[in-house]
Amino acid sequence: MKDIRLVVQRFDPSVDRKPRYVEFPVPFREGMTVLDAILQARDYADHSIGVRCSCRQASCGSCGMKINGKARLACYTQVAELRSEKVVVQPMDNFPIIKDLVTDLDGFFDRHRELLPRILRADEAEMESPTAEYLMSPEELDKILQFTYCIKCGLCTSSCPTVGTDSLFPGPQALAQAYRYTMDVRDEGGGERFELLDTRHGVFRCHYAGSCSAVCPKGVDPALGIQLLKRHVMSAKPPRGNGEGARVWTKGS
């Protein structure tokens, strides 16, 4: 492969009425990622291409976009792996467009926060200033470990068909994190979260399309977390709670 044809969807909501596609020839080099190609086009062909990126190593989740029709991280997608000389980049679905490939993630983070993605303890004073160490066994950690890898890139939410139709649905990212914290043995806030999840537009609106898990660049399986969360909400029993948290280790114990 010598050159690739990078096709960028351009759209500025303050100026344009509908998106347009602009093609840029970009010289291919070994190990080139799609983000490299976009930055090359921006640096040498058109400075006005709107793209968001930061770490360039699939850690920050800034460069989520649709690449040849599939939601991916641009920094984590090699041009060679696409096996195509034509690379079409578009902003993520299900998000408002700020400009070109940059989407507005405010609503996404709001939904994440609404489901209390933090450890909640019944004893608020202890929660704010812990006096002891709360232990967790490797088996207990294993239940939630994959969900802690979430980098909040929004790819799962962009590929979720329910998010596309139901604006009040929290989306796979927020739900998977609700599961992660509910299953954390140190947490006692499951009941509080269940109140938020057991609604007309809550966890049961997930129809298990599974596209969230298919696109996650970190190997998280949000669809699994959501189905397990449904089971707990259905039984109305948070896995922990009523003071039955993790074993507490204090100095000298």
Binding site: D166, R200, G202, F204, R205
Partner: protein, 117 residues
């Protein structure tokens, strides 16, 4: 009613519908030939057996509850306003009650015809 309860109803009626519809199909063309199964005499004789009547009523309720509850879920995803939610929930209950009532009426009429013939 909480959404988790409504979804539990949805799952239970789905499982029940699979069993009931399977039995219904077995009696309507597999174990009993289709031509015989839909003959006037066979149909009326079904309404002389209490087990058969209970089975038909159960099939009616299970399938209608499952079907209308499914439509309710789709309608909730269509729009997301509070008033729409209330109308959809109320409409679903009305639709289920009306349909089950109409179906039950048909079963009762057939039972009366079966008894009187």
């Amino acid at each position: 009613m909480r959404e988790s309860r409504l979804m539990l109803v949805q799952y239970v009626t789905a499982a029940a519908a699979v069993v009931l519809v399977a039995i219904h199909l077995l009696l309507q063309g597999v174990l009993v030939p289709y031509g015989t199964a839909i003959s006037f005499g066979t149909v009326l004789s079904a309404y002389r057996s209490v087990i058969s009547i209970v089975f038909l009523e159960l099939l009616l309720v299970v399938v209608l509850v499952h079907g209308f509850n499914g439509v309710r879920i789709i309608l909730h995803e269509l729009r997301q306003t509070a008033s729409w939610s209330r109308w959809v929930d109320a409409g679903t209950v009305i639709a289920i009650v009306a349909s089950v009532g109409y179906g039950t009426r048909t079963i009762l009429l057939a039972v009366l015809m079966g008894v009187s013939s």
